[in-house]
């Protein structure tokens, strides 16, 4: 359970992220027209991510060949690629919101997996679920520490100008 959620799925997202480099610049430029500041892309990423966070989706992804294929296709293409395309265009506030929600999800789900007396997935044992919960809480704390560190001491490559729209858009 931990392996699927914390290793396999992030790797699939990373694969999609790298795939995005193969998208030709002309396509990126036309996508820009309706992906203002990357928000549309992040909405897509969030919706697909919610789907793959459902216990029954991960359960099915272990037992049904069709869902396995769906996972291997949709996570890189509908999460990794939009994320890679949209992230450089997002502003500070949107990034902050997204990252905080991301960390919060680790805490919410980690806590749920740890304390739930019922197995949420039929394909995994209860101690698998609890172990995953502990890992997720630990990861959540680590991510939070990293975020705070960055906030206090880091530099940001995103727009420093307060009006995002006057800043130059990335050149093709």
């Amino acid at each position: 359970m931990s392996a699927q959620m914390l290793v396999q799925i992030p790797l699939l997202v990373a694969a999609g992220w790298l795939l995005a480099r193969a998208v030709p610049a002309r396509v990126l430029a036309s996508v820009d027209a309706w992906n203002d500041r990357g928000i549309t892309g992040l909405v897509l990423v969030s919706v697909v991510a919610v789907f793959w966070m459902l216990p029954r989706s991960l359960d099915a992804a272990t037992s049904h060949p069709l869902m396995v294929a769906a996972k291997y296709l949709s996570v890189p293409l509908l999460v990794g690629v939009p994320l890679a395309v949209s992230w450089p265009r997002t502003g500070f506030v949107v990034r902050g919101f997204f990252l905080v929600e991301f960390v919060a999800t680790f805490f919410r789900l980690g806590w749920l997996y740890l304390i739930s007396p019922n197995r949420l997935c039929n394909n995994y044992a209860l101690n698998d679920q609890q172990r995953l919960g502990r890992y997720m809480l630990t990861l959540g704390v680590a991510l939070l520490v990293w975020l705070v560190w960055k906030l206090v001491w880091g530099r940001f490559e995103s727009f420093s100008s307060t009006d995002v729209r006057t800043a130059p858009s990335p050149q093709p």
Binding site: A29, D32, A33, W34, N35, D36, R37, I39, T40, V43, L44, V47, V48, V50, F51, L54, P55, R56, S57, D59, A60, S63, N118, R119, L120, C121, N122, N123, Y124, A125, L126, N127, R165
Partner: protein
């Protein structure tokens, strides 16, 4: 010819519209994936599904605690309460057994009239011989034929019956098994029509009596 640069306002408007479209499409997809936001886990999903689409249980060959052999379809004509166990289980199966012992008590009259029967099926047919099954039943109560324990006679039969009932068995680290434990209701036509939680005895009793009256 250089493409005109979209004004920020148009880009924002267009993005908002596309985002809303994505959200709506996503909402529809999630509603479909969760049976209308009712079932987020596989276990809940199978319960929701069975209530609207009963599943016919195949004629699996079984052998009970007295060594008598029959098929699942031989039990048609009665309402069946079925659970899945293995006799070496230290935890849940004891709870399931306790529940069934109580249900046998509470449904004594319909059972005596031959309208209801309790069946415990083992998913460990190699270790759970008829003698083991009899010992399992003996732990809880001295049952009459109202409560039988049976094992599938072939590996194929085991696979068929666990698939039909939607039972997933996974080995646990202690040499035993973990499975989604529940109490299943099969109608006199041999179809799985409802699934209940352990310990939900009052509800089970009421449901069975209601079905018998109708």
């Amino acid at each position: 010819m250089m493409r005109g640069i979209t004004s920020p306002r148009t880009a924002l408007l267009r993005s908002s519209l596309v985002s809303i479209a994505v959200l709506l499409a996503g909402g529809v997809a999630l509603a479909a994936a969760t049976d209308g936001f009712r079932a987020f886990t596989t276990e809940t999903a199978r319960r929701v599904s069975v209530r609207s689409h009963p599943i016919v249980i195949p004629a699996v060959a079984l052998e009970n605690q007295s060594g008598a052999r029959f098929t699942f379809t031989d039990l048609r004509g009665k309402w069946l309460l079925v659970d899945f166990i293995y006799t070496q289980c230290p935890t849940f199966c004891g709870r399931l057994g306790g529940d069934f012992a109580q249900l046998e008590q509470q449904l004594r009259d319909p059972i005596a009239q031959g309208k209801v029967q309790l069946l415990s099926v083992t998913f460990d047919p190699t270790r759970d011989s008829p003698a083991q099954l009899a010992a399992y039943l003996g732990r809880f109560w001295s049952p009459g034929m109202g409560w039988q324990a049976a094992r599938p006679l072939t590996a194929d039969g085991l696979q068929q019956i666990t698939a039909a009932f939607g039972i997933t068995v996974i080995p646990d680290q202690l040499g035993g098994f973990t499975h989604n434990a529940a109490i299943h209701l099969v109608d006199p036509e041999g179809r799985l029509v409802d699934i209940f939680d352990l310990g939900d005895l009052a509800h089970i009793r009421k449901t069975v009596l209601r079905k018998l009256r109708s």
